[in-house]
């Protein structure tokens, strides 16, 4: 009670709108910019400066090197497998959670978030425990000529695990907010479930879906921890781009390491640009939807 009284009896501030005080406004903006510069722009500049320190030719050599090209290919293949699978999973899971009430629904929501809360290294180790040659099923897979760990399937599994929540997490709140009225109406008007999905559901979630797909892709290409555990670090075989950066760095090829890192930084920038475009489109869609 005491607290309430003291708050109530406190004199009203002289400037109710602190934002109108110039030094607060400029001070806060300057601080935000400084932090942004220090933690985002400076590292990016450092990566670029290191990458080009030995000149254009060295940069080109580094990113066209046989092992770099292979790492790029492997990273692309991994993303090409993981992103569509997790997109399908994300739509299915979001649909299930946003449109139906069933026992265990909140448990499912929590489980989808699990990869966010588990350290990627643990995720990798779990796959070694299951599929490693001393693991539960590893012996069977290895003797049948289909190794999982230290090969592409292991890398894909680890990446699938860490990127699992991205699409679902974007879609669940969106679909919950939109509600099911339009879909119900279309069914009552005689549309098939399939037609309803393509003409009603998908157009309404497309920007949220794209947003999730882009984040999922960025993570799939950039994942280090989980993939590092299951990769085996074989050059030209199981080495993804982020792992290749580490290998080059460890081999004192600093410029080459940073050159390859610019590829990942480029991916990040493209992701950011796409993300802002989609956010803008999404915003417009919301405004149009609720006049």
């Amino acid at each position: 009670m005491n607290t309430t009284i003291s708050i109530a009896s406190r004199p009203a501030p002289r400037h109710p709108d602190a934002g109108s005080v110039p030094w607060v406004r400029y001070g806060l903006s300057a601080l935000a910019l400084a932090i942004l510069g220090l933690f985002l722009i400076l590292p990016l500049v450092a990566v670029l400066a290191e990458a080009f320190r030995e000149g254009w030719q060295a940069y080109l050599d580094a990113i066209t090197d046989r092992y770099t090209r292979h790492a790029m290919l492997l990273t692309l293949i991994t993303a090409l497998i993981c992103v569509p699978l997790n997109t399908l999973f994300g739509i299915a899971a979001a649909w299930c959670i946003a449109r139906f009430q069933f026992p265990g629904r909140s448990l499912l929501t929590t489980l989808i978030d699990l990869p966010f809360s588990v350290s990627p290294v643990i995720a990798g180790l779990v796959f070694i425990l299951i599929f490693g040659s001393q693991g539960w099923f590893g012996g069977w897979f290895t003797t049948h000529g289909f190794p999982v760990i230290f090969a592409l399937p292991g890398i894909v599994l680890a990446t699938l695990f860490v990127t699992l929540p991205f699409v679902a997490r974007e879609l669940i709140p969106l679909m919950q907010a939109q509600g099911a009225e339009q879909e119900e109406a279309s069914i009552m008007l005689g549309a098939s479930a399939w037609r309803m999905f393509w003409t009603i559901t998908l157009p309404r979630i497309k920007w949220g879906l794209l947003y999730g797909v882009i984040l999922c892709n960025a993570r799939a290409m950039g994942e280090f921890g989980a993939v590092s555990v299951v990769s085996g670090h074989i050059r030209g075989a199981t080495n993804t781009l982020p792992l290749h950066v580490e290998i080059l760095y460890n081999e004192y090829q600093f410029s080459a390491a940073f050159a390859v890192a610019t590829l990942l930084a480029g991916l990040a920038i493209v992701t950011l640009v796409l993300k802002s475009i989609i956010e803008w489109r999404q915003q417009r869609q919301w405004e149009n939807a609720s006049p």
Partner: protein
């Protein structure tokens, strides 16, 4: 690819009967799972070997590399990394593969000369230029304010050699003559020397701010991140760091006593046999050729101590300082015993290391 073309051509000309080798030319891929600091050595050696082997047999061999902390690499092979040969930092890591998977015969150390160790090295100190903290020998490492960089003995082979090198140095200081270790007459002296070594190593690890998982990670911590006053390093790693990163930045300090490190090699028979006879022969030749004069020369050029120094460039050999070196067999009764006593769960390292 040229061999295949040549083979096809000779076949077409009807010459295959006189050139049986070329006609059978195969493309073989091998995977060498190695420890951290050998990256540069095997990059060079793989080229040397492929050229030599193709000349000998007509088969073209590509060797892919996987590097990491020696203990971690051993673990990976146990978990299924399809390595055809392992070239690790210490014998126990190969014993572990043999014990747990049976993919390597138990007597693997007899497969190649010199207990299957084609090169040796030792443990030295890398300090900042001008040696500002005046570090000369093992005793200086535990002085107040000195920060020591060494990796984690649980995952790194180099770290285990560092640990044992420190141990040997104290035994030597306490006993004077290490021959006393096996002499029952000096049992009391030996016991107190062992206690002193334990005490010293416990203090040493209190000076370690961070344990990296492999030797190369520790080098980067010291060199790139600028942490610590002294790096306990493989001699080859110390030479390489000074050469790669500028001689004006670091000095190598050689202690009076250290350990003779013998990084061994083995064929992973359990993995290679699935690839067929010519791959098995190539894997065996790959390790055997490490003992050839040209490989020994290359080994010395990469700062490892060759076991046949007469084959190497005398200038390379002159770089290696003289110091008193003791082997693991002589002081600790071999790697199996050392691993069980010092590094396994509940061993000496676990009882003395408090982060």
């Amino acid at each position: 690819m040229p061999t295949l073309k040549t083979a096809a051509l000779t076949g077409a000309l009807g010459l295959s009967a006189v050139m049986p080798l070329a006609a059978h030319a195969e493309e073989i891929q091998l995977l060498n799972a190695s420890y951290d600091p050998t990256r540069e050595l095997y990059q060079d050696y793989n080229t040397l070997f492929s050229q030599w082997y193709e000349k000998q047999t007509g088969d073209s061999v590509t060797v892919e590399q996987s590097h990491g902390g020696s203990g971690g690499q051993s673990r990976s092979v146990i978990d299924g990394l399809p390595a055809d040969v392992v070239t690790l930092a210490l014998g126990y890591d190969i014993d572990a593969i043999a014990d747990r998977t049976g993919k390597i015969p138990e007597d693997w150390q007899r497969a190649f000369p010199h207990h299957s160790a084609p090169y040796t090295s030792t443990i030295v100190f890398l300090v900042r230029k001008g040696n500002p903290k005046h570090i000369q020998d093992w005793d200086d490492l535990t002085k107040p304010g000195i920060e020591v960089i060494t990796p984690n003995p649980k995952t790194s082979g180099g770290a285990r050699w560092n640990f044992l090198a420190a141990w040997v140095a104290v035994l030597k200081r306490e006993l004077g003559d290490l021959g006393k270790l096996d002499d029952p007459q000096y049992a009391d002296d030996v016991a107190s020397a062992q206690a002193a070594a334990r005490q010293y190593v416990a203090t040493l690890y209190q000076h370690v701010p961070v344990l990296d998982s492999g030797a190369r990670g520790a080098t980067n911590t010291f060199v790139q991140r600028g942490l610590g006053d002294v790096l306990l390093a493989w001699e080859n790693e110390a030479f390489l760091a000074t050469e790669e990163l500028g001689e004006d930045q670091f000095d190598i300090v050689v202690p009076a006593v250290s350990i003779l490190t013998e990084p061994p090699v083995a064929v992973v028979s359990g993995n290679i046999e699935r690839k067929g006879d010519s791959a098995r022969e190539a894997a065996s030749a790959y390790l055997e050729h490490l003992y050839s004069p040209e490989a020994q020369k290359l080994i010395a050029a990469n700062y490892y101590r060759p076991i046949a120094p007469q084959a190497a460039d005398p200038e390379d050999i002159a770089r290696f300082p003289d110091l008193e070196l003791h082997t693991i067999d002589e002081i600790f009764g071999g790697w199996r015993e050392a691993q069980a006593t010092y590094f396994d769960d509940g061993g000496v390292f676990d009882t003395i290391y408090q982060p």
